[in-house]
Structure formats: C-alpha cells, structure tokens
C-alpha cells in the first residue's frame, strides 16, 4: 500500500503545506492566524517525519512526532498566554502594531 505512493509525493505535499504555512505567516497580520500558520508548518513537518518513518521503517521518526506535538501544545499554551497579555495591553492582536522597539 505504501509503495504505491512514492516518498517524493509526501515530500512535495509536506513542502506545499509548509510553504502555505510560511505564506500565511507572511500574509496575515492577525497574530492568531499567524500562529495557526506556524502550527500548519509544524504539521507539515510531522507529516514528512511520519512519511520518512514509514519509508525507513523506523519508529524513531514517529516518536519524534510525539515530541513535536508536545512541544506544539506547550508552545500554543505559552503563545496564547502571551497573545492575551498583548491583547490586554494593546487591545489588538495585529502583529505590526507592536513596534515600539526598533532602530
């Protein structure tokens, strides 16, 4: 079953998703969306990792995905906390509003 889908398809898919994530980060100013796009990037990586894991027949890759998920969860919790903090201070979640620190 696996052999029918060549690995490069997965690579391309992962790259596509990853790039869409990057594009989202670049494209949107809404911090939450940007954040979600980063999650999308991580998921692309996860997909790639799992694909490699399967193709290499090595469970380590899949275990790694677990860690990525854990980290993602942790990141999300902290990130959202920061977002809320920011919203409290500025009443916005526009990423470009906070630019007092510069030059």
């Amino acid at each position: 079953m696996i052999n029918t889908v060549p690995i490069e398809y997965y690579i391309w898919l992962a790259v596509a998703l990853f790039t869409i994530g990057v594009m989202g980060v670049l494209y949107r100013r809404n911090a939450i969306i940007v954040f979600m796009c980063i999650e999308l990037m991580l998921n692309a990586v996860n997909l790639l990792m799992v694909a490699f894991s399967s193709y290499l027949n090595d469970p380590a890759g899949q275990v790694f995905v677990f860690f990525i998920m854990a980290v993602a969860a942790a990141e999300v919790s902290v990130g959202l906390a920061i977002l809320i903090l920011m919203y409290r201070n500025t009443k916005t979640i526009d990423i470009d509003v906070l630019n007092r620190l510069k030059w």
Binding site: F18, V34, I38, M49, L85, T90, L101
Partner: protein
C-alpha cells in the same frame, strides 16, 4: 549528566518551595544547588560518557560548556537578586530560569536531534515567558511576543531540517548521522543538504546572526534587564554550543554545503551588528548589538577551523560571559534607579559611583578586546585561528569592525567619565558590589590563566 539532574531537581524544588513556604531561602538553595552542579561537572571532567541510549554525550566539550553555563547561571542568580526580591513570583521565575538552564545544558550535550529540539524548546519557551515577565510593561510584552513568534517560526525550519536529515540518513543520533554521511559520501539525496541548510538557518537564528538577528535587539531591549543578561550569556552560550555540536561534530564532512553561506553570514554579522550599534543610544540595545557582533567573531573562528576551534570559542564565550554579566549588572544598577538605560543616564557615573564605572569599564574594554583583559585573548585566539587557516581578509574585516566596536563601547565609557552626572545617586547593594569585583577579577584572572581554559577542550 549529574549536573542536569541537579538542575532539573532544583527547578522542581523551586516550584515546590512555593507550596511549602520556603521562599525566603530559595535563592540560597538555588545557588548552593548550582554550586553542587558545578562540582559534579568538575568531578565528571575528563570522562566521555553516553547517557540514555546515546541521547546525551558528556564529553569534555559538554563538561566545559555545562560548567560555563552553570557558573554563569550562578553569577546570574547572584546578580538577579533584585529581580527576585522586587517581584512577587520568586518561585516560578526561579523554576523557569532553572528549566532554561537545564535546557541549556541539554543543548550543550545532546547527541540526538530530539534532545536538541527539546532542549531548545525548554529554553525558548521559558524565555518567551521570562521576556514578558514584566507584564505591566508594553516593551516587555512586545519583546515576549516578538521573541515567541519569530522563535516558533524558526523552530518550524529547524524541524523541517531535522526531518529532512532524518529522511536522508535514517537516524536522529548525531554520531550515526556523522558516520552515515562519511560512509555515503556523494550518495546523499539532495534534500539532505536542504535539511542541513534549514537547520543552519534555525540555529543561526538562535545564535542571532545576521540576517536572522532581527529579534535580538528588540527582545534584548524590551525584556527586563536581568533577563536580558541571562539571554545574552547563558542562552547565547547554549545556542553556540548547540550550533557547534551540530556543525562541528555532525555535519563537518559536508562542510562544503554551508561554509560559503556561513562566511557570508559572518561578514554580514560583523559589519551590520557593529555598524548599527554605533548610532544606538540605549545601553541595553548597544549590548544587544554587541552580542550579535561577538557571534560574528565566534563564527569567524568556526569557519576558519570548525573542529579545532572549540577551545577558542569556549574561551571567547567565557570572557564574553564574564564581561557581559558585569556590564548588565551595572546596567541593572543604573536602571533600578533611573528606570531607563539610555546612555545619558550613564553620564558621570564615575563621579557618582566609581566602582560601577570601573567595573563597567573593565567589562566594556574586555568586550572591545583591549589587552590585557580576557576579551582580548578571546579575540586574539579567534584571529590567530583565522590567520592560521588563511582567512586573513576576514581577520582584517574583523579588526575593522572591532574598531567600530571600540567606538560604541567607548561611547559609554566617555559618558561615564566625561559627562557631568545626571539623575539620582546610585547605591548598589553590597552583594552587587562584591559581584562586580568578583566578575572583574575573574575577567582579569581569565587572561592570566587563559591556558587552563583553552586546554579544557582538546581538539577532537
């Protein structure tokens, strides 16, 4: 390994201390614990052991860097007493810092990409929080937000890189990857190289080299000064240790892929960091650019001789850490009275408080690389390595940029000695005074005993 356990244990103990009402003694305990960690490092020295199915490799490189991280953290705790005293949440902050230190130690000793990733994330996530820990301050929030957003974005690239490398080599272990690379020379799929490059990008981001440095000045400036001190010392050491470990231990045989890029990055870093710092008016920001600039010198040593430069980099970082901590201690003292860190508030510091001024002077001179301070020997070793390997043009660039560096460091010195005093008088606590003296003495001592530090890490 023991040190790591001690530090994690301390972190958890710090959390528990909140519950068992042990807050008062916490700083002491933490410092004792760090000393203990340092001692275990000293005892382990000279051994080279893999731990937990080759997840961690404690060789002399890790021992040395762990020791440096622990000692720096120790001094940081000494420095940051104010930070804890004035804030309500001593325990969680201590815990976060200790977790960060644990992450840093992992970054200095990992042998597996998973450990790298986790270490990095422990470090980063704690730092995101710490950067934003002055919640009433918009700057602090902004720093946390910028750091977090860009940090996690970079993490994405790191993971992509790891995934690609994994796909090509079938392993997460550095040692296995290294041997795989050397045995499959020329047969590696091209996405392996892409993976290496993506990891490079992510780590260059972490060590904040141009053009992935944008977060650093803003975050350094916005974060509470003590946290900035922590970031520019412990975190920087850890990031560079991780960088070195990956690229000198693991990917060195495919150096050709990234060496040119690294050279460009080095040149850009040296120029942009040092030049931009010239026009800054905030000491914290100047120090931020300076820390970016120092990364440039470290990279210079690295590209000149990646495998052989460990001792040099270690010494450089030690000298940098001592000087940087001193500088931040002084900045912190000034800030605690004036609430700001622009250069004007350093005016006449020598008249207001000679000790602070002198300590700051030594620190800045060391950062600028003026003999006989440790910073000079650091720079000297870097240049020596580079000249030995024929990077004379880069060395000339390095020299020119370090002259530019003198310009901005001396801007502060001139303010301290030349201008008339402004603002409120300064009375740092005794412990800060002692800390300054100790750090300054360390900085001087490092140059006398440079041999000892350099020889800690033999070229492998």
């Amino acid at each position: 390994m023991n040190a790591l356990l001690v530090i994690c244990g301390l972190g958890i103990f710090a959390l528990v201390a909140e519950i068992i009402n042990f807050k008062k003694w916490l700083p002491g305990v933490v410092m004792l614990g760090l000393i203990a960690a340092g001692i275990t490092v000293a005892f382990d020295f000279g051994t080279s052991v893999m731990h937990f199915s080759e997840m961690l490799l404690f060789d002399n490189f890790s021992h040395a860097f762990t020791g440096l991280i622990v000692i720096t953290a120790l001094f940081w705790f000494w420095l940051a007493q104010d930070y804890f005293r004035l804030q309500p949440h001593i325990t969680d902050r201590s815990a976060l810092i200790l977790f960060t230190v644990a992450g840093a130690v992992i970054m200095a000793s990992f042998n597996n990409m998973a450990m790298l990733f986790l270490g990095l994330e422990i470090l980063s996530i704690s730092l995101y929080v710490l950067a934003g820990s002055r919640k009433e301050s918009l700057f602090s929030t902004e720093a946390a937000f910028k750091y977090f957003l860009m940090g996690s974005f970079a993490t994405g690239f790191l993971l992509m890189g790891i995934a690609l490398v994994y796909g090509a080599t079938g392993s997460f272990h550095l040692t296995e990857i290294a041997s795989f690379i050397s045995t499959h020379d020329g047969q590696l799929p091209s996405f392996f190289y892409a993976g290496v490059l993506l990891m490079l990008v992510a780590l260059v981001f972490k060590i904040s080299a141009v053009p992935f440095h944008f977060w650093a000045p803003d975050v350094y400036e916005g974060s509470p000064t003590t946290i900035t001190a922590f970031m520019s010392t412990v975190v920087k050491i850890a990031a560079i240790a991780a960088f070195y470990r990956i690229f000198a231990f693991c990917f060195t045989s495919v150096q050709g892929t990234y060496i040119t890029i690294l050279e460009i990055i080095t040149v850009l870093t040296l120029i942009i960091a040092n030049v931009t710092a010239v026009y800054q008016n905030n000491v914290k920001r100047i120090l931020a650019y300076s820390s970016i600039g120092h990364v440039g010198y470290i990279l210079l040593a690295f590209i000149a001789n990646d495998v052989g430069s460990a001792g040099t980099i270690f010494f450089y970082l030690s000298a940098y850490a001592a000087a940087s901590l001193t500088a931040f201690a002084v900045v912190h003292s000034v800030e605690s009275v004036n609430r700001t860190t622009t250069v004007e508030y350093f005016n006449g510091l020598f008249k207001k408080n000679p000790l602070l001024a002198v300590a700051m002077t030594f620190a800045l001179l060391s950062l600028a690389g003026i003999p006989p301070l440790a910073g000079f020997f650091g720079k000297y070793m870097v240049f020596a390595v580079a000249i030995e390997n024929g990077f004379t043009k880069m060395v000339i660039l390095g020299i020119l940029t370090s002259l530019v560096g003198v310009y901005y460091y001396f801007k502060i010195i001139i303010a301290m000695y030349f201008a008339e005093p402004e603002g409120a008088p300064l009375e740092p606590t005794t412990s800060i005074r002692i800390l300054l003296i100790v750090l300054t003495a360390l900085g001087l001592g490092m140059s006398v005993f440079a041999d000892f530090l350099v020889s800690l890490i033999p070229a492998h």
